[in-house]
């Protein structure tokens, strides 16, 4: 039985889709069978980020409504052969996702894959609650700024009350993925500090992804950043996050701390 991960945040634009694709690709590079499922029905993006937008024939809603088989809707990645995508429908809306249908699809994906990554839409409505419903593990994507942190806090509350695990009295495993972390802005004090975010959300930290042009470039190329450039700073941060997800005790380093040290040296020279 595979593990079901929901990538969620409450707020939009914090990097759920980018992170879903990057984590999926990183997990699959070890040979694990991974499927990334786009739950953002009506506003799908995962197919673009994974470079499969021209190959979408059937989608999640087709499968749920019995118009296509699951195997027909799954798209295999051309670069990593154990990585699959289940796209969302762009023409329907989220009301087409039924609790029974989602349960069936997730159950069959769990049998066939080692990891099922559910890319949640923003918000706390139907799409988001159905994406988290069957999860074993939740990855809460947060930017270091107040509105994102508060929305994440709200989502954590829902993860602890509205999911199947919570309703069965079990505890959902939750991890914080801090994305778009900008070390220069952090130095200036324009952003929340890592410790402040951790204090507010009080869930374990899975990783800190630095703000980087590499992420945008990779998205525009239609490639998860962990495939586009394995040695870029965000890629390395995602690979480390995946190692922690597999249970490795790897300490988290705050990006830019070393750079700030060099920055100080440089600054001193210049002065």
């Amino acid at each position: 039985m595979g593990k079901v991960i929901v990538v969620t945040s409450g707020k939009g634009g914090v990097g759920k889709t980018t992170s879903s694709a990057a984590l999926g690709a990183a997990l699959a590079q070890n040979g694990d069978k991974v499927v990334v499922v786009d739950f953002d029905v009506g506003l799908r993006n995962l197919d673009l980020v994974m470079g499969a937008e021209r190959r979408v024939v059937y989608d999640l809603v087709n499968v749920i409504q019995g118009e296509a088989k699951l195997t027909q809707a799954l798209i295999r990645d051309k670069r990593v052969e154990t990585l699959y995508l289940l796209p969302a429908s762009q023409t329907r809306d989220k009301d087409n996702l039924t609790p029974e249908g989602v349960e069936k699809v997730v159950a069959s994906l769990k049998k066939a894959f080692d990891w099922v990554i559910c890319d949640s839409p923003a918000g706390i409505e139907r799409g988001a609650t159905l994406a988290m419903r069957h999860a074993d593990i939740a990855i809460v994507v947060t930017n270091p700024e107040v509105s994102s942190v508060r929305d994440s806090d709200r989502i954590i509350g829902l993860l602890d009350s509205k999911t199947l695990k919570a309703e069965n009295g079990e505890r959902m495993e939750k991890h914080l993925l801090l994305t778009r972390y900008d070390s220069t802005r952090a130095e200036r004090g324009d952003m929340l500090k890592v410790d402040d975010v951790l204090e507010i959300l009080s869930i374990p930290l899975l990783g800190i992804i630095p703000e980087s042009m590499d992420v945008l470039r990779a998205s525009n190329l239609g490639s998860p950043v962990t495939l586009a450039d394995e040695n870029s700073a965000p890629s390395r941060a995602y690979f480390d996050a995946v190692r922690r997800l597999r249970g490795e005790a790897l300490p988290v380093t705050v990006p830019g701390e070393r750079r700030s040290f060099f920055g100080k040296l440089f600054g001193r020279k210049a002065a």
Binding site: E125, D151, D153, D160
Partner: protein, 249 residues
């Protein structure tokens, strides 16, 4: 001309309402309701009624028809319980939550006699008695301990007594207690203590970042708090009609 305005008092209070749980199809259910109303005229008159629609798969239009049908029968719906967000709106009764169960109320079982007016009056009196007997007796003696952080959007409601939170209260979260509130963490949300009229209740927190605090209806917003209290361990109490704050050393 500036005169010192009288403070506005906000108080939490709990009332007992009848909760009606309609069943599908509504036609049959309304027929049953009509039958009940025919046997005890005026049963729903002047009674606060909350419609419990949790678990019902209905559309907004159907709900609106139901509310209209009920108001034609003099049943005034004061709130909706268990309604999905999509069913709510400005034209609908407000959403209610945190309802606590009282004992079941089954008017049909008590209403077998056919004598018209007399039995109605007797039945009415009986109903009132049943309701009061089933009402929650608010005793400010209990205590509730929450060992998890209270997340944004969550609300801890405990009119029976003190609330202790081992963890933080997030921005956008709310603690409502009949007694005192103790937060062993950062208080970022709202804390309303002594809401059942207990002016001796206090609020304690290890780190103050609160959006609002109130005791017995007298409140203090973040803007009115002294800036040097922020981030400190603080207690809040009521003196006369004003909230007092002090740093806990």
């Amino acid at each position: 001309m500036l005169t010192k305005p009288r403070p506005i008092r906000l108080k939490g209070r709990s009332f007992l309402a009848l909760s009606l749980a309609p069943e599908l199809p509504f036609e049959d259910w309304l027929a049953g309701l009509d039958d009940l109303a025919a046997r005890s005229a005026g049963f729903f008159l002047r009674r606060p009624v909350v419609l419990d629609i949790s678990g019902l798969d209905i559309k907004k239009a159907e709900l609106r028809t139901l509310v209209d049908e009920l108001s034609q029968r003099n049943v005034r719906v004061m709130g909706l319980e268990g309604a999905r967000h999509s069913l709510l709106g400005p034209d609908m009764p407000p959403a209610m939550n945190d309802g606590r169960p009282a004992s079941d109320f089954d008017p049909s079982a008590e209403d077998e006699s056919d004598e018209a007016n007399e039995s109605v009056a007797a039945q009415d009196a009986l109903a009132v008695e049943t309701i009061e007997a089933a009402g929650p007796s608010v005793q400010v003696t209990g205590s509730l301990v929450v060992t998890e952080p209270v997340r944004s959007g969550q609300s801890v409601f405990f009119p029976e007594g003190d609330v202790t939170i081992i963890g933080s209260v997030a921005s956008g979260a709310e603690i409502v207690a009949g007694g005192s509130i103790h937060v062993y963490g950062t208080l970022r949300g709202r804390a309303l203590a002594g809401t059942t009229g207990n002016g001796s209740a206090r609020i304690f927190c290890r780190k103050l970042e609160a959006e609002m605090m109130a005791i017995d209806g007298f409140y203090l917003t973040a803007e009115d708090m002294e800036p040097d209290l922020r981030g400190r361990a603080v207690q809040v109490w009521l003196e006369g009609h004003a909230l007092k704050t002090g740093i806990l050393s």
